[in-house]
Symmetry: C2
């Protein structure tokens, strides 16, 4: 279909490619990417070691947890500290941005309880 994208009849300002919309899409997809919300929540609730998080987040695999923590660290939602004990301990915690993000997302719980009651089974 998209061989010749004809939008000449369409007013350019109605396209969803301006700044706020791209930002919105980008951050929603970051927060909502599979496992991310659960990982951030686990950290918010006190888990701070790899294996704690792995136990807190139901059904996540080590491989994906490691991958997600690396991404979240790069995006600066999570801070990774190496503690030079023997053996080394690695501790993860939310950054301020991460804390604010889960606070912002909290209303989703009420939304879901209202509109998706079957989730409660």
């Amino acid at each position: 279909m998209k061989a010749v994208p004809n939008q000449s009849l369409r007013n350019e300002s109605s396209r969803i490619d301006d700044e706020a919309c791209r930002i919105f899409q980008h951050s929603a997809e970051l927060a909502g990417k599979k496992w991310n919300a659960a990982i951030l929540l686990a950290l918010a609730r006190g888990a701070n070691r790899f294996s704690d998080i792995a136990h807190s987040v139901d059904r996540i695999s080590d491989r994906l947890l490691a991958a997600r923590l690396r991404e979240l660290e790069q995006r600066r939602l999570v801070v990774r500290e190496v503690i030079p004990t023997t053996p080394v301990q690695i501790r993860y915690r939310l950054s301020t941005a991460g804390e604010e993000l889960i606070r912002i997302l909290h209303p989703l719980v009420q939304w879901a309880e209202r509109w998706e009651p079957r989730l409660k089974d």
Copy 2:
């Protein structure tokens, strides 16, 4: 026994598999699944036909747009109406749940502007 503090001694109720946490994860992943936020936003901003949404959401393919609209309809965030003109017109719009969802997610814009300034490039 102190080099490695054992978190498994924490009480079971702190695990992230109880109801509110599962709901939280589930709805965050619904809202944040790739393209969903942008599609809902396009609808909120007035797009209501397939090709309008396709033009509004930058870089989405027809295939994924069709798939996502079907999912969003099943999840009751989007309503699909068939208008029996010739040829038939198909019109999509947000349900009340869908409208509330994008309202809830709106603070993400300010969050991202504050914490992810490089998105603004």
